[in-house]
């Protein structure tokens, strides 16, 4: 656990964490040792000269004072370390996330990452503050007390010592057997959450079928599975808790019996026996709390494991000596990219001379967007190469590569801020005049005029306050401002109504002028004017050539084209 914590944190935090752990351990030992002084105190009080207890009481008081000082320091140190860790963890996670390839960020990842980076970090770091000290003290103090007992009375001490391996074994065994159940439970929860989302999103259709009156089977099954998994967890946790309690109580009973026997036999003083029984009672509580602390630790551990998994994901390797490409032609050389065992891009070779436009067409799922993503190095190819200006994109530094490419996607994400801020992102150093010019070229100026607040209008989280077409115009303005030699367009106009489409097209036209362009589109009309068209299916190039040439050939492209031209049928 600590080892994983340290790995997740990175080594600069190893020292303070170790120091805190050491401090907490020392505190727990001090607590146990201070109890050693109870024996002479009680011996005196229970004996004939109770006044003889005073010096021992003073000694015990001193020991408690030492313990108090240690405890106070270790508590504060725990808080301090946790804060430092929190900061370090956030930074480390942030830095790492920024370095991970874009291809890593799927739709499911976004949700996971935001939860992990928000609550997850805090939860895992609170382990140090809230769980570590009780856990250490529950383990170490009883052990120290047993050592004290051993020193005072061999047989009773030995009897108590028997508990140690038993408790340890039960703890380890419970931990192991619970891990699988926890995992399963996590999975069931996840599954049920998915079903709830599905159920909510499918409400209109479900209601149409009258299917929400009865329980919806898919959801209800998932909910029942959650309950079953949680019951299994409870039942499998029970032996552990019972075992622990039984072990602790059996030993206590043994001490009670043995102590009584020894006291009756007169071999041991009554005061010793009673003190040892008081100490034994002192051991029992922390030991019994181990099972609940263990459960909480396991919870924190699973968050930690997920953090660890993210942090151990390797970013794409950076070239040690980045090359600056001088030209801006593009080339795929037998590029292969796999997703699992499926080849999404299966040996594509093509080249786009500088300043030319390539259109990529094909059925959905053909790998069109992936082609663009390989150019921008969201992923690295599994075979072959992708080159910009004759240089493998893996040899170009990320910053340089990104500086050469402007991308416009179908879904535009805007940051919660003003329109101007979002446009400026294209080139933070641009003058106001340049920003205005880019906005005008993207026909964003019409939008800005309409909005209350104009340039300073807030776009909302993710750009939610703008319509799809308006967001698209922002992203085009951004790309125009960036003024990169290579432009990648992914289904830019397919989700727009004709009025917005016209505006966006004008912007796009200006964006494409004089640049090397690769565009993915299914509105074939927008494809016509490309210098060359590639028809992609199943990750391979099926046809390529100019528009007229492909139409004459009468193959897949021609079929697609004709489909899109068929006029609306009337009954």
């Amino acid at each position: 656990m600590i080892r994983m914590l340290l790995r997740v944190l990175g080594h600069e935090y190893a020292r303070p964490v170790r120091r805190t752990v050491a401090l907490m351990t020392t505190t727990a030992v001090a607590e146990g040792l201070s109890y050693a002084l109870l024996v002479p105190v009680l011996r005196a009080l229970f004996g004939s000269t109770p006044a003889g207890a005073r010096p021992w009481l003073v000694a015990f008081g001193t020991a408690v004072a030492v313990y108090a000082a240690l405890r106070y320091r270790s508590d504060l140190s725990g808080f301090r370390v946790a804060t430092a860790l929190l900061r370090g963890m956030y930074h480390r996670l942030g830095d790492h996330l920024a370095r991970l390839p874009l291809g890593w960020y799927g739709a499911a990842r976004v949700g996971e990452v935001s939860v992990l980076a928000g609550r997850g970090v805090l939860e895992s770091m609170s382990v140090i503050v809230h769980l570590l000290a009780p856990f250490l003290s529950a383990c170490v103090t009883p052990l120290t007390i047993v050592a004290v007992m051993l020193a005072y009375n061999g047989p009773l001490g030995l009897a108590a010592l028997v508990a140690a391996p038993v408790v340890a074994a039960v703890q380890v065994w419970t931990g192991r057997s619970m891990a699988a159940d926890d995992e399963e439970r996590h999975e069931r929860d996840h599954e049920a959450a998915g079903r709830v989302i599905e159920y909510l999103q499918a409400q209109p259709v479900l209601r149409a079928g009258g299917r929400t009156d009865e329980r919806f089977r898919l959801l209800d099954d998932a909910l029942r599975e959650v309950q079953r998994a949680s019951r299994r967890t409870v039942l499998s946790a029970l032996p552990g808790t019972l075992g622990l309690t039984l072990a602790v109580q059996a030993v206590f009973t043994a001490l009670l019996v043995l102590g009584s026997y020894l006291a009756l036999g007169g071999t041991v003083g009554v005061a010793e026996v009673l003190t040892i029984l008081v100490l034994a009672a002192r051991c029992a509580d922390p030991l019994l709390s181990l099972s609940s602390i263990g459960g909480k630790l396991r919870g924190a551990r699973s968050v930690l494991a997920r953090l660890d998994a993210v942090l151990r994901t390797e970013p794409l390797p950076e070239a040690p000596e980045p090359v600056q490409p001088v030209r801006h032609d593009l080339e795929f050389a037998s590029a292969v990219f796999r997703h699992g065992d499926r080849a999404v891009i299966d040996g594509v070779s093509l080249s786009v001379p500088e300043g030319q436009r390539l259109a990529v067409v094909g059925p959905s799922g053909a790998g069109k967007s992936t082609l663009l993503q390989l150019l921008a190095r969201f992923h690295d190819v599994d075979g072959g190469a992708v080159r910009l200006g004759g240089v493998d994109v893996r040899e170009i530094g990320t910053e340089t590569l990104m500086a050469r490419i402007a991308m416009v996607f179908q879904d535009v994400y805007l940051f919660d801020g003003t329109i101007e801020e979002n446009v400026r992102l294209g080139r933070p150093g641009a003058t106001d005049a340049e920003v205005r010019a880019a906005a005008a070229a993207a026909r964003l100026d019409e939008v800005i005029e309409r909005l209350p607040g104009g340039w300073a209008a807030n776009v909302g989280e993710g750009g939610a306050l703008l319509s799809g077409g308006e967001r698209q115009r922002v992203s085009i303005a951004r790309a125009l401002l960036k003024d990169a030699p290579v432009v990648l367009l992914d289904e830019v106009t397919s989700a727009l109504d004709p009025v917005n489409e016209a505006a966006v097209h004008q912007g796009i036209e200006r964006l494409m002028a004089g640049r090397t362009v690769v565009m993915v589109a299914h509105r074939l009309r927008t494809v016509r004017r490309a210098d060359r068209i590639v028809f992609l299916d199943g990750g391979r190039i099926v046809e390529e050539g100019g528009h007229d040439e492909l139409l004459r050939r009468g193959g897949r492209y021609a079929e697609f084209w004709n489909l899109s031209l068929t006029p609306a049928a009337r009954p």
Partner: protein
């Protein structure tokens, strides 16, 4: 309910039985320390009683915890089912304005967060108070002076509580919560905007924002900790066993040396005194969880309190499927009206196309037909009956719709197509799939119509859209509402939509939000919507001839499409 009582009762009995071994030690001390010969029989009785107490405690607490968790599981399932049932009846409009992720969190995490309330709190809290109370009464009977002394650490700890509630502390707590919120937002933005961040290179603004939020949060956290930590640590110290023992021993030693108390009287305090701190500790520990649980229960209550659209007491069956909108007004929030007095008649056997600029209220208008919302004024009448008087089931059987966002369930392809008609025969499903031009693709899937979407097979956007079309075709409702999606993913799908429209027409009442000029031209009636009101209506040719708003809109459309290419009707731009 009895199971709750059982959980509490078992827990209390178990916890009280846990006192037996401690009392046994006390008794043992009394017997052994008493002057004169030791009564062996009594010693062994005491030992047996102590051991028996332990056994009872083991059995009862285990039973209590086991039952508690099982009840918890049942309660959670029941709660989730209630939530699901309610969510299945709330207005669709309410759903559409909420993030599904948040609602899923209510059904999932929030219900789970109730766990301590049910499984732990009743038993453990009661035990945490009953046991110390019993101990306290017992200790008073032993020696009231030493009892008061034993209580000193508890009083000390409680005295520190107000220090945690000072305005400064409370403000820090608030800042802490706000900081947590900011960091979550920054994390979401960071993860979602990562593509933009990377594409535009540089240090990355979102990254910086996340870092700033994280730094601010840790600063707040540090301030909070700095204020809180010494008090918390002080409290912990006051309640710590060595300190309590020290207090008891000092007090006890004073009483014993003065001859005010029997030495044996000290033992119960050493053994039971520590237990007196339990309630304070329990409050501290359980408090956070309980707070979280309370907030979760609040959110669950909010969802359960949403009123479903009222169902008619005496449902009326619509006669025919003529649709009329009479003086319909609607606003999502008070004040701002999206629809401002719409009168519209949709005749069976005709296609009505709604056109208009974005934000004109088109989507809202068509969503009133399947009763996603009720109009704030006026009424929507189907076959002579107000929608509000038609039973939900009847309504959905009469009105079917294809909207832009297609949702497929992780279920078999056949189930997905038959979602609205659960008892449809396989042949009907196949016929619908053929019409929607998706049949061949389905046969290519590993298990054909039995393939589970998302497990056996992933479908592309266009394919999913065609499944949705097949769904509507199978539903075969006399009134069809269609948002002619602007984002149909490929030409094949666009073609399928057009074919479906053609196949569906006939005697149906069709209302379509039209985006394509072809659809508009082929409609029987065009309704031009602007700013929530109908500005023009009539046959498309007639409206064009009138040369008004629609004609202008049409021209703008045409040049928009033509501007980039040759439109199908062939005016070559360049």
């Amino acid at each position: 309910m009895w199971s709750f009582a059982a959980v509490v009762l078992l827990q209390v009995i178990g916890a009280l039985a846990g006192l037996a071994p401690l009392l046994a030690v006390v008794e043992l001390g009394r017997v052994l320390l008493s002057p004169g010969p030791v009564d062996h029989g009594r010693v062994w009785t005491v030992v047996v009683a102590g051991a028996a107490g332990l056994l009872v405690r083991l059995l009862f607490t285990a039973a209590s915890s086991g039952i508690g968790h099982l009840v918890d599981g049942q309660v959670q399932l029941a709660l989730r089912r209630r939530l699901a049932a309610r969510l299945g009846r709330v207005p669709i409009g309410w759903l559409s304005r909420r993030r599904t992720g948040e609602l899923a969190k209510v059904v999932g995490d929030d219900v789970s967060a109730v766990h301590p309330f049910i499984a732990h709190a009743p038993g453990e809290l009661v035990a945490a108070f009953v046991v110390p109370l019993v101990s306290l009464v017992y200790l008073f009977t032993v020696d009231w002076r030493l009892t008061l002394i034993t209580l000193a650490p508890v009083v000390l700890a409680v005295a520190l509580v107000p220090l945690m509630m000072t305005p400064a502390r409370l403000r820090e707590q608030k800042e802490f919560d706000a900081g947590m919120g900011r960091i979550s937002n920054a994390a979401v933005e960071f993860a979602q905007g990562i593509a933009v961040v990377k594409a535009f290179g540089g240090a990355g603004r979102a990254h910086r924002r996340f870092r700033t939020a994280a730094d601010e949060f840790t600063d707040t956290f540090l301030r909070w900790v700095r204020g809180m930590a010494p008090i918390a640590a002080g409290m912990q110290l006051a309640l710590s066993p060595p300190f309590v023992l020290l207090v008891v021993l000092v007090g006890g030693a004073a009483l014993i040396t003065n001859g005010a108390m029997e030495p044996a009287g000290l033992l119960p305090f050493l053994l039971l005194g520590l237990g007196l701190t339990a309630p304070v500790a329990a409050l501290g520990h359980g408090f956070d969880d309980l707070q979280a649980a309370r907030r979760a229960v609040g959110r669950i209550g909010d969802v359960l309190a949403v009123q479903p659209l009222p169902e008619p007491a005496h449902p009326v069956a619509p006669q025919g499927h003529r649709v009329e909108l009479r003086g319909v007004r609607f606003g999502y929030e008070g004040g701002h009206e999206v629809l401002r007095g719409i009168d519209l008649v949709l005749e069976p056997g005709t296609v009505t196309a709604v056109v208009g600029p974005s934000g004109s209220g088109k989507s809202t208008l068509v969503q009133l037909l399947p009763r996603f919302f009720d109009p704030t004024h006026g009424s929507v009448v189907l076959g002579g009956a107000d929608l509000r008087e038609i039973g939900g089931r009847e309504l959905y059987r009469t009105v079917s719709f294809v909207f832009q966002d297609v949702r497929l369930l992780r279920a078999s392809v056949a189930d997905n197509i038959a979602l609205a008609v659960p008892h449809a025969g396989h042949d009907d499903v196949v016929r619908a799939a053929r019409l929607a031009d998706i049949h061949d693709r389905i046969l290519e899937l590993p298990r054909g119509y039995a393939s589970v979407i998302g497990e056996d097979a992933g479908l592309s956007g266009g394919e999913a859209q065609r499944i949705a079309i097949a769904r509507a075709l199978l539903a075969d409702a006399p009134v069809l509402v269609l948002d002619e999606a602007t984002a149909f993913a490929d030409p094949q799908t666009e073609q399928a939509v057009r074919r479906a429209l053609a196949a569906l027409a006939g005697d149906r009442t069709v209302l379509v939000i039209a985006h394509r000029l072809e659809t508009i031209a082929d409609a029987d009636t065009v309704v031009m919507l602007e700013n929530g009101a109908v500005v023009e209506r009539g046959a498309p040719a007639e409206l064009l001839a009138r040369d008004g708003r629609f004609a202008a809109f049409w021209q703008a459309h045409r040049s928009a499409v033509a501007g980039e290419s040759d439109a199908p009707r062939g005016d070559e731009p360049r």
